[in-house]
């Protein structure tokens, strides 16, 4: 019949079999084994089953084991190279395509320009030159425009009699003209 002592000894038996117990424990276990046939039988089973594992043979690695590993590595390296090379190649192709497009459009444009100068030289040459009056009038217009654009600066001058821009329903341009007249007088 299994007692509490049996349970305790059976817990110690694996260590006992490995010489992992200290002297008092060894004495206690051996005393119990001498008096308990069931635990002694369990000890025998413990040892025999552990030793039985030695008979568990497994085959060697299959033939060409290391060769297949190296083949896999070579394949992997090739794939890595391809993974790196393909985007680079694609990028290069795109860049080449862009350069080609740019060059061809430049050439087309220059061809067109050359065509124009060759086909209508008379239009350019035959146009009468602008008179001095026309040039001065244009410049005055430009100055005037610049002046109107800077009207805000004029508003800051104290003595300038400014007219309200909304007065009498006139538009801004009229007000500016009025201001100009006052200022110039």
């Amino acid at each position: 019949m299994r007692t509490r002592e049996c349970t305790g000894v059976r817990d110690l038996l694996p260590r006992y079999c490995e010489d992992g117990l200290d002297a008092p424990e060894i004495s206690a276990v051996e005393a119990h084994l001498a008096s308990c046939s069931e635990c002694a039988e369990f000890r025998n089973r413990l040892v025999s089953s552990w030793n039985l594992l030695d008979s568990w043979d497994v085959p060697d690695p299959p033939l060409g084991f290391s060769g297949r590993i190296l083949a896999r590595l070579h394949e992997e390296r090739r794939n890595v190279w391809l993974r790196k090379a393909l985007p680079a190649a694609a990028l290069l192709l795109i860049m080449l395509g862009l350069v080609w497009l740019s060059v061809s459009s430049d050439r087309e444009r220059s061809d067109n320009l050359a065509g124009r100068t060759l086909t209508s030289p008379q239009q350019v040459v035959g146009q009468p030159p602008a008179s001095e009056e026309e040039i001065i009038a244009t410049l005055e217009l430009l100055e005037e425009k610049e002046f109107y654009d800077n009207i805000e600066e004029l508003k800051k001058i104290d003595y300038l009699p400014l007219v309200d821009e909304k007065e009498n329903g006139r538009d801004n341009r009229d007000n500016r003209s009025q201001a100009l007249e006052v200022y110039s007088s």
Binding site: F42, S48, W50, L52, L53, V58, P61
Partner: protein, 185 residues
């Protein structure tokens, strides 16, 4: 042995393929047999062993010899084995009954020995397969790969006592499963 492994790894790190081949040749048998016993399947063991060495090669550039090379190597095997087990949705059912083993009509004495040997091997494999994964691997590393408890603890990243406890419990389980085999043989 350990120094040689480190030197070989140093050479592998520099891209020496011959050194890698030597490393594989030195450890392939132990790695394969461990995977074979753990998975109880030669094809899966082949895959795991190959993948182990592939990972060794990949990690060679970052390998720092803080621990024994074999400890590092078996840590890789452990991870791959556990992953493979996880991939198995259902537990592998081993032929435990005699009906599953092909029986010759009139076996000669040598055939009978082979048959008996196969039966014993199957019983052992089945008993070991019943062990929880951590316990199983600890037993295999201790029994077949000659690893000490402290080395196994490093692989499992647990205490030495935890490993001892696992192995001792496994021994008790195996005694219950295989204890009767000694009488049969």
């Amino acid at each position: 042995m350990e120094d040689t492994d480190r030197l070989l790894m140093e050479r592998v790190r520099k891209g020496d393929e011959k050194a890698f081949e030597m490393l594989v040749a030195r450890h392939q048998r132990m790695v394969y047999s461990l995977a074979c016993r753990f998975m109880n399947d030669e094809h899966e063991a082949d895959d795991i062993a190959q993948e182990t060495f592939i990972r060794v090669y990949r990690a060679a550039s970052s390998y720092v010899p803080t621990a024994k090379f074999s400890t590092w190597l078996y840590t890789i095997v452990r991870n791959l084995c556990f992953n493979a087990i996880r991939k198995r949705n259902t537990a592998r059912i081993l032929p435990l009954d005699d009906e599953a083993v092909p029986e010759p009509v009139s076996p000669a004495a040598s055939q009978l020995e082979v048959l008996l040997g196969n039966q014993i091997r199957d019983r052992i494999a089945a008993a070991v397969a019943k062990l929880p994964e951590n316990m199983r691997l600890a037993v295999l590393l201790h029994k077949f790969n000659g690893m000490q408890y402290d080395e196994i603890a490093e692989i499992f990243q647990c205490s030495v006592n935890a490993v001892k406890l696992r192995v001792h419990r496994a021994k008790a389980i195996l005694a219950a499963e295989l204890g009767d085999l000694k009488d049969e043989t």
